[in-house]
């Protein structure tokens, strides 16, 4: 009989180890956002930069030489409206092909969500002057006279002007500001939330986001680079145009 005790104990371990309760507990998952970039239907990387072979909606030939932007506050919304915020931000650097993938430190519980979203830029409360050492080291700051904090995007390149000459442009998006100086004012928020749609999280999930760069120059405002090309950071009206054109820039490619 004594010889049966070990077998009995082993069987109990197996039985309890297979308890149905264990199946109900699913470990929280990592949510990874990846970023790819398109001009129309054509994927673009830094190897496509520096040549004036893009045509914007207004008809100018143009190039991209530098593209960096920040996204933050990845948020999952449950069907009942509850939200789960994964704190953090990511400075996507297309020029140097860095941070094209972002996994927030916090994990997300498995389940079905009616929406997943992120903020393009930084919300005002987090967009404080000099607050983030890595962004300071990356020279991502906005001058205090314009409200401080950080750029949302730096998109630089050249276009063929109406004078048929190559000319630089700096499509820099920041918090719209007026009255540059010691007491700037802010007519309208220009960060915006990007809604990607419903998602089911069963395990670690990869959310592939596409930036359609041509949309910055397309809808609703067909951007005339001859008019708006440089020194746009202090121009609140132009910042609001950028904000409006940004609404159609991001789409969800797929998840897996």
């Amino acid at each position: 009989m004594k010889r049966l005790y070990p077998l009995l104990a082993f069987s109990l371990v197996i039985i309890f180890g297979c308890s149905s309760d264990a199946d109900d507990v699913v470990a929280p998952a990592n949510a990874t956002l990846t970023f790819s970039h398109y001009w129309g239907q054509t994927p673009i990387t830094n190897s496509d930069f520096n040549t004036l072979n893009l045509t914007n909606a207004h008809g100018e030939f143009m190039s991209i030489e530098r593209l960096r932007y920040i996204i933050s506050d990845v948020t999952f919304t449950k069907t009942g409206g509850q939200t789960v915020l994964l704190e953090g931000y990511n400075l996507v650097d297309v020029t140097n092909q860095t941070n094209l993938s972002f996994t927030p430190n916090e994990k997300i519980a498995a389940g079905t969500y009616s929406n997943v979203s992120f903020v393009f830029g930084l919300i005002n409360e987090k967009n404080t002057d000099g607050a983030f050492n890595d962004l300071n080291a990356a020279s991502w700051n906005v001058p205090a006279m314009l409200g401080g904090g950080y750029h949302f995007m730096q998109l630089d390149g050249k276009f063929i002007s109406a004078n048929n000459a190559a000319q630089g442009y700096n499509y820099h998006t920041v918090r719209a500001n007026d009255n540059a100086g010691p007491n700037p004012t802010f007519p309208q928020d220009t960060f915006f939330r990007v809604d990607l749609g419903a998602i089911t999280v069963a395990a670690d999930v990869e959310i592939n986001v596409a930036m359609h760069v041509e949309e910055w120059f397309k809808t609703p405002y067909a951007w005339d680079l001859n008019v708006y090309n440089q020194m746009l950071m202090p121009n609140s009206a132009v910042q609001i145009l950028m904000y409006e054109n940004g609404q159609n820039v991001f789409t969800l490619e797929d998840t897996n």
């Binding site: 040549t51 030489e65 050492n133 080291a137 630089d156 000319q167 630089g168 440089q230 020194m231």
Partner: protein
């Protein structure tokens, strides 16, 4: 027979114990004294930690050896030129001439780069054209460069090995008296990483211990104003005390290029004419300016950005009003901008006895 077996096992046990004894004969190895970088308050508060390779930690003995090597002409073929020959302390570790002459009286085509805050070059690309990755690799090159020290590492290490002091100093720093080029470059890099400049008037202003003049304040505003100087996109700001992005830009010096700069390194024509942004610290001591030292004065530099830009296919899009030659500053704006730029100079740095010839 049983006793013999027992004795054998006792003997083997004793042998094992003896061989595991920590007091057994091991050669004495120097353990250098850690000497972490003293990170300035503003750097600590605002930017990322310095870049220190894990295989070359800062030590007192390593820094001391590196300093001795930096100032010693023994590194050159004829014992006439030290690193300090082209990187003078009083000039914030650059040269006061456009080009530096090597041991054979030959001149290069680049201005000697000033040396400070090198541990905060996060991309780790050194020289004007970024051709060397890592400070240790940078330190290799001047010794064998035919227009600089013009020697071989074999010759240098042999001289150091036969020297009355160096083998012991290497032993103290690295635990071996066998001199080799890797250890030389490590020691020099340790010393160079201690060359930290963070005590200018503007630093003191940010720390609340100095007050800028109205001209300096106005100059800073011009520096930060995208419609005026727009210097901050490449040269840092009050939130980035390095005063450089350490990136590569074509800042409109030439319409055509005799020196391709970063383009030579990458092989990409779109990088032609690009050079690394230098820090704007210590400009009071680092004339002449630009990668080829073409501008003798700060006025020349400011005039270049104001009305002297030359267009080219690779000119950085951040250069403003290129068709007008630049940002068109007034005389007063130029004077104020210069006043601000000079407020970034750090007298304590060039007078620091830790950085002078031992």
């Amino acid at each position: 027979m049983t006793h013999k077996i027992s004795y054998f096992f006792i003997f083997m046990f004793a042998l094992c114990v003896a061989s595991c004894n920590e007091d057994s004969v091991e050669p004495y190895v120097n353990v250098p004294t850690p000497s972490p970088l003293q990170i300035p308050q503003l750097f600590q508060d605002l930017i990322l930690d310095p870049v220190i390779p894990s295989n070359n930690p800062q030590t007192e003995e390593g820094i001391s050896l590196g300093k001795k090597l930096f100032f010693d002409p023994i590194l050159s073929a004829d014992n006439t030129l030290a690193c300090a020959g082209c990187h003078s302390t009083s000039n914030a570790f650059t040269d006061d001439t456009r080009f530096s002459d090597g041991i054979d009286g030959l001149f290069g085509n680049r201005n000697s780069m000033p040396l400070f805050n090198l541990a905060w070059n996060y991309d780790n690309k050194f020289f004007w054209d970024g051709r060397e990755s890592g400070l240790e690799n940078q330190a290799f090159e001047p010794v064998t460069n035919p227009i600089e020290m013009h020697t071989t590492w074999a010759a240098v290490t042999e001289k150091l090995q036969q020297h009355s002091e160096y083998p012991e100093l290497f032993n103290a720093a690295f635990g071996t008296a066998i001199v080799d080029s890797v250890l030389v470059s490590k020691a020099i890099s340790q010393f160079e990483r201690t060359l930290i400049s963070a005590n200018s008037k503007f630093d003191k202003h940010l720390l609340g211990t100095a007050t800028l003049t109205p001209e300096e304040t106005n100059g800073f505003n011009i520096f930060m104003d995208e419609t005026k100087g727009d210097c901050f996109h490449c040269h840092g700001s009050d939130n980035n005390p390095l005063w450089t992005d350490n990136k590569f830009h074509n800042n409109g010096l030439d319409a055509t290029f005799s020196d391709l700069g970063f383009g030579t390194v990458t092989g990409d024509p779109s990088d032609n004419g690009k050079f690394r942004s230098p820090s704007l610290r210590n400009l009071a001591f680092t004339a002449p300016y630009m990668h080829d030292g073409r501008f003798e004065t700060l006025e020349d530099v400011i005039n270049h950005y104001s009305e002297g830009l030359q267009d080219s296919p690779t000119i950085d899009p951040l250069m403003k009003k290129v068709d007008q030659g630049g940002v068109q500053l007034s005389l007063q704006e130029k004077a104020d901008l210069k006043a601000f730029l000079l407020s970034l100079s750090d007298l304590d740095f060039i007078n620091n006895p830790n950085f002078s010839n031992p």
